[in-house]
């Protein structure tokens, strides 16, 4: 369960409920939690600018 309220528009909530059920989640809350965890993990694992620069410089093409 969410620790605080999050507002979703009606159409989105209806979709969430529908796909949560289709995908076998036990509730819309579980589906939303999973989706948010996945997105946060994606953002957290993105290379930082400095990391990308370092790796690009490793290619040699950029000083």
């Amino acid at each position: 369960m969410f620790g605080s309220n999050v507002k979703l528009d009606k159409a989105l909530l209806a979709k969430v409920k529908r796909y949560a059920d289709l995908a076998g989640y036990s509730s819309a809350d579980e589906f939303i939690t999973h989706a948010l965890e996945k997105e946060i993990a994606r953002l957290e694992t993105a290379d930082s600018d400095e990391e990308v620069k370092k790796r690009l410089k490793g290619l040699g093409y950029i000083s």
Partner: protein
């Protein structure tokens, strides 16, 4: 957790699983002949033609006589990962999804490297200071489409694909496969050297492509540590290290390097062989290897250490398929550079290595590749073999200037002695072709190809500065330049277009970019307007156009998925001009055009028509291959295989 940590976690759990996916268990039929494709990265058409005319490439000449010698049109843009992906899949970038060395996520405007990524384990359990992964992570190849050797395997043909660029991790579809350009070192970079020095004037810390480490000499001994990646099992990032010592003799002529249980005695100016190194983790260890180069002992101590390469006998990342193939190669002909681009161009660019030292290091790498190729060729009796030689490309990047007295940084006192370095490598490749021809019979086929050509890089073009000067890009108030973090200080609310990567220009499109302002209905007109202006931009130094092609993506790509990653315009800089370093990372510098003063003096990321590759065949191909995209279908057609690439792409 950053990509480097993820890479190691991924490694830790899943390398072996990934490697099990090769085609080695598939049933093969005897083809009754051999097809060999030699990939020479960066072999230039014009230089090859000149050397042929001078009679310096006799084996190339034999091929030219038998099957023909022609230009091979490169990819748009002519960058190696794009070009090789085009050859591998028979698709343009719209199909295989590799548009540049560097892509960006338009939703976050975060840049990322285009060819592979590490995917972390999805679940961890925390125990004290440790994190225990419950599921396997993996390293993922981002190229889409099917590799041509998949089709060969489907027809029961045994395939060996060695050092294929832009194929890391290996696809797993060949009978045996070793990844080439794009394969990282243990740190997850394309090569990070270490340089240990007691020079009091040396600034310690990271430099482009390496790390300078200040050390003290005490009682003729230097004690230091090689730095590995973060320990993936610890929640807080802690680097793993392997201590070593250098014991200097009284005459300051020799030093004994001791690391773990390994010892090497080196003279000043001598390179070690590969030294295995173990990094202890919270549980288990990571294996790597490096070479030491004792640069000097007097007046100061200076020791260069190669990037920490994955140990081919126990690679911590999937570099071959089956997994044991890398070890088979190492046992047969010795340990070898597993990083995809072994020639240490960064060592030379940063001044850590002199030109002579760089060439000696490149020679070590080239010898390994040639020795390994001889062994692979010896064992090749039937089917298909691809083998790539990458050293011409990397040496050409650093040694083109000596061939170009018109280069702004040409040094008449130094450069003439290196005038023939690149040419001599072409002659060396001719010898490789000669050895191959001697092995092949009448029914066999030899194809010699390159992914792009080469030319001098004299002038640097900052696309973002040009966009600012022409009113398409706006900086935040008070800023004239930007280049700290990528896209730092750009006012997105007043920016209609931006540059990123070596040839990419993007519209700041509403609905695609996170702060997009250009209405999709206006995109095409804007693209045409910018293209037209770019083509009319002269280089004030020469009065000639600085840009000779501006490709609309719709005109040159058959776009499938991931359209959002494709640049809206692919900029074809005039021969001799390339995107500046700042421009490639989204920066804005004071001037649009500047002289290239870098040691990196040869390049190819320009107008594709200025840098075609080469094609030589031992007999005339039934189907014409005028470009990289057409080459794999033409080779497959020689074996009676049609329909590649399939229509689904």
């Amino acid at each position: 957790m950053n990509q480097r940590r993820l890479a190691v976690v991924a490694v830790w759990l899943s390398a072996v699983l990934l490697l099990a996916t090769s085609a080695c268990g598939r049933h093969h039929r005897a083809l009754g002949r051999r097809v060999v494709v030699l990939g020479f990265d960066g072999l230039d058409f014009q230089l090859t033609r000149d050397l042929l005319a001078q009679g310096r490439l006799p084996n190339f000449a034999k091929l030219a006589e038998r099957g023909g010698f022609s230009q091979l049109g490169t990819s748009i843009p002519p960058q190696s990962p794009v070009a090789w992906s085009t050859f591998i899949t028979g698709l343009d970038p719209g199909g295989h999804g590799i548009f540049d060395f560097i892509h960006r996520d338009p939703k976050t405007m975060t840049p990322f490297l285009s060819t592979s990524r590490a995917v972390p384990p999805s679940h961890f359990v925390s125990v004290g200071k440790w994190q225990l992964p419950l599921t396997a992570g993996r390293v993922e190849l981002l190229r889409r489409g099917h590799a041509f050797w998949e089709r060969l395997e489907e027809h029961g043909i045994d395939t060996t694909v060695v050092r294929m660029p832009a194929d890391f991790p290996p696809s797993g579809h060949a009978t045996r496969e070793l990844s080439g350009m794009g394969t990282p070192d243990l740190l997850g970079t394309y090569g990070t050297f270490s340089y240990f020095t007691s020079d009091p004037f040396a600034n310690g810390g990271p430099v482009a492509g390496g790390t300078i480490v200040p050390v003290d000499v005490r009682d003729h001994v230097v004690r230091a540590a090689l730095e590995g990646p973060d320990d993936p099992m610890l929640k807080e990032p802690v680097k793993v290290t392997a201590e070593f010592s250098a014991h200097i003799d009284a005459s300051r002529t020799f030093a004994k390097i001791v690391v773990g249980g390994e010892e090497r005695l080196l003279r000043v100016g001598e390179w070690s062989d590969w030294v295995p190194v173990r990094f202890s983790l919270a549980w288990g260890d990571l294996r790597a290897q490096c070479r030491f180069y004792l640069k000097q002992l007097s007046p100061e101590f200076a020791l260069y250490v190669t990037p920490l390469n994955l140990d081919p006998l126990a690679p911590a990342l999937p570099i071959s398929a089956p997994g044991a193939y890398a070890a088979d190669l190492a046992r047969a002909t010795g340990r070898f550079y597993t990083q995809g681009m072994p020639e240490d161009t960064k060592g030379l660019k940063t001044g850590v290595l002199t030109t002579a030292e760089f060439l000696a290091q490149a020679r070590l790498a080239a010898n390994e590749v040639e020795r390994q190729y001889a062994w692979v060729l010896d064992g090749f009796t039937d089917g298909f073999l691809f083998y790539c030689f990458g050293n011409v490309d990397l040496v050409s990047h650093m040694m083109w200037r000596p061939m170009d007295p018109g280069h702004p940084a040409y040094d008449p006192a130094v450069d003439p002695q290196y005038r023939r370095v690149v040419e001599n490598l072409y002659v060396e490749m001719d010898t490789v072709v000669g050895r191959t021809l001697a092995r092949l019979g009448r029914d066999d086929l030899l194809v010699v190809m390159s992914d792009h050509g080469f030319t001098s890089w004299r002038r640097s073009f900052n696309l973002n500065t040009w966009l600012r000067e022409n009113g398409y890009l706006t900086l935040r108030p008070g800023r004239r330049i930007a280049g700290g973090a990528t896209f730092d200080d750009i006012d997105w609310s007043a920016t209609r277009a931006y540059g990123l990567g070596l040839n990419g220009l993007y519209v700041n499109l509403r609905g695609r970019e996170s702060s997009g302002i250009v209405d999709p209905a206006d995109r095409d007109a804007l693209v045409r307007e910018i293209s037209g202006k770019l083509l009319q931009t002269p280089d004030p130094r020469t009065s000639a156009p600085a840009v000779t092609r501006a490709f609309r993506r719709e005109d040159v790509y058959r776009l499938s998925a991931d359209q959002d990653l494709a640049p809206d315009i692919i900029v074809g800089y005039a021969k001799g001009t390339r995107a500046s370093d700042d421009s490639a990372l989204g920066g804005v510098s004071p001037d649009v055009l500047t002289d290239n003063r870098s040691a990196w003096t040869g390049d190819h990321c320009m107008d594709p028509e200025a840098v075609p590759g080469i094609l030589l065949t031992s007999r005339r191909l039934q189907r014409k291959a005028a470009s990289l995209k057409e080459l794999a279908p033409a080779i497959l057609a020689e074996l009676g295989i049609e329909g590649f690439p399939s229509q689904e792409h």
